[in-house]
Symmetry: C2
Subunit: 260 residues, 2 copies
C-alpha cells in the first residue's frame, strides 16, 4: 500500500530490484491481478508474503455478510501463504454510542472466525488502531485490549499486529509488547509527523521524519521473540505520487537507519 | 472557552442569565479583565469557578521558566477560588523522539509544583489528552497514566481531569474512573463527531451530536464519588461564531438530555 500505484506484478518486480525479501499484500490489488496469478508471482519470485490486508469490519449490522467476507479473506490468505491476515475490526455505526457493545460484537465474531482460520493454517492478526480511529475504523484501540481479546479466544492461534503509528503513544506499549511475546503476528513501521494531516512531499510517515522511536519499538519486539518480517506501511498521497522505485529505495535506507 | 467571544464580565452575566451556577475560566481572558476584577465579578455573582485553565507545558527546555509560569497560574487559581488548576503537560520538541524522557520531566516538574499548590489550597488536575495530541500537546495520554503519576507524588492533593473527549475511547476508562475516586478534580463533556475535523455549524462537539456515551461516563464519575461541577468544554469555530446566549441555552438543554 506504500507504493500504491504498482499492481501486484510491478510490486513483485520492484521488490526483487530493491532486494526486499517480503511484501504485504492487499485484497483489492490481489483481486485485480487474480488470486492464483498473484500467488504464483510471489511464489516464483521467492518473496515471503509478510501479511495480507485485511479482514475485519465486524461491528456492523450485517454479521453474516461480514463473517462470509472474512472467511473468503482467510481462504485468500491461505492461498497466498501469508504470515497473517490483518484484522481491522470496524468502528461504530452512524448513531451508535455503544462502544462496549461494538467491542463485544468483535470478540463474538472472532470466536467464530478463529477456528476457521486455524483449520486453514492462517494466523489472524488483531490490529489495534490509533484511538483517533475508534469511532470510524476500529474499536480495538490498544495492544493490551487486543491481547485481552486474543487471550479469551480458544486456542493460541490469534495474534496481534504492532503498528508503530497506532501504538507509539501508549504508556503501556513496552509492557504489552513483552506480554504479547509470540502472539506478535506482524510489526509495522512508519512515523508520526506534525502537523496532522501533513501534505508536504514525503512529509508524513516516512521512518525517521517524526516523533516515533522506531528502534526502541523494534528492540522491544525483538526481545519479545518476534522473528518475522518488518513491514513499512505508509499512507501518504505525496508518497503515492512519487516514483515507486525511489520510494522503495528511500524506505530501505530509512529502515536501516531508523529501525535496524 | 466554549463561548470564546465573551470576556469574563460578559461570561459572568451570561451564566447568570442562563442559570449556570459555575464556570471554568482561562488565563488569557482573566489577564485581559485583570485578575482582581475577574475574581470580584465571579464572587459577587455567586458563581463557582469550576476550573482554571491552564498550567502545564512542562516538557520543554526552559524548565525554570515553565515552573515559574506554573507558580503564577497556581497563585491566580488561588485568588479565583478555582476548584482546580487544569494541567496540560506538554508534548515533544521538534526533533524529539524520547517520549519516556518527556514523561519523566513531567513527573519531575509536578513533584516540584505539587507542594507549592497544596500550600495555597489549589488542587492540580492532571488532564490526559487524546493520544492524537501526544506529540504536540500532552505526553499524558490516559487516565491510568495520570493516576500512576498522581499516586507517585507525595501527599494526595493532585487530582485528574476526566474529559470525555479525551478518554471515551479507552478500554480501561470505567476501571480507571473507579480507581480515580476522589482524585477526580473535574469532569468535562463534549462529543466526538465525524468526520475529523468537521466544519458544519454546531457539528463537532455539542453533547449528543456524536459517539460518546456521556451519560455512562457521568454515572461512572458519580459512582466514583465525584460531586463537583460538570463542565461543557467545546472547541469549535462554528460554535464560537454563533450567538453565545444561544450556545449556552443549547448546552443547558443538551446537558440535561445527554449527561444528566
Amino acid at each position: 500500500m506504500t507504493v500504491r500505484s504498482w499492481g501486484v506484478r510491478d510490486l513483485v518486480q520492484g521488490c526483487l530490484r530493491a532486494g526486499v525479501p517480503a511484501v504485504g499484500l492487499w485484497r483489492d490489488p490481489v483481486a485485480e491481478a487474480g488470486l492464483a496469478a498473484a500467488a504464483r508471482w510471489v511464489r516464483d519470485a521467492g518473496l515471503r508474503v509478510s501479511s495480507y490486508c485485511r479482514g475485519g469490519f465486524l461491528t456492523g449490522a450485517d454479521r453474516a455478510g461480514a463473517l462470509a467476507d472474512n472467511r473468503r479473506a482467510i481462504d485468500e490468505a491461505a492461498e497466498l501463504g501469508a504470515a497473517c491476515l490483518v484484522m481491522v475490526v470496524g468502528g461504530l455505526g452512524a448513531d451508535d454510542r455503544d462502544l462496549p457493545g461494538a467491542r463485544a460484537r468483535v470478540s463474538d465474531a472472532l470466536a467464530e472466525l478463529a477456528p476457521y482460520a486455524a483449520e486453514r493454517g492462517v494466523r489472524l492478526g488483531l490490529e489495534p488502531l490509533h484511538p483517533m480511529f475508534c469511532a470510524d475504523r476500529a474499536v480495538l484501540s490498544t495492544l493490551g485490549q487486543a491481547l485481552d481479546i486474543a487471550d479469551a479466544l480458544p486456542g493460541t492461534g490469534v495474534g496481534v499486529v504492532v503498528d508503530a503509528y497506532h501504538v507509539w503513544w501508549d504508556p503501556q506499549v513496552d509492557q504489552q509488547i513483552r506480554r504479547a511475546g509470540d502472539r506478535i503476528a506482524s510489526f509495522q513501521t512508519c512515523d508520526w509527523t506534525l502537523p496532522l494531516p501533513a501534505d508536504v512531499l514525503l512529509g508524513r510517515g516516512m521512518p525517521g521524519d517524526g516523533h516515533v522511536d522506531l528502534r526502541a519499538l523494534r528492540r522491544g519486539v525483538d526481545a519479545a521473540g518476534y522473528t518475522g518480517d518488518i513491514e513499512v506501511e505508509i499512507f501518504n498521497a505525496d508518497i503515492w505520487a512519487a516514483d515507486p522505485d525511489e520510494v522503495v529505495a528511500t524506505i530501505v535506507r530509512r529502515h536501516v537507519q531508523h529501525v535496524l
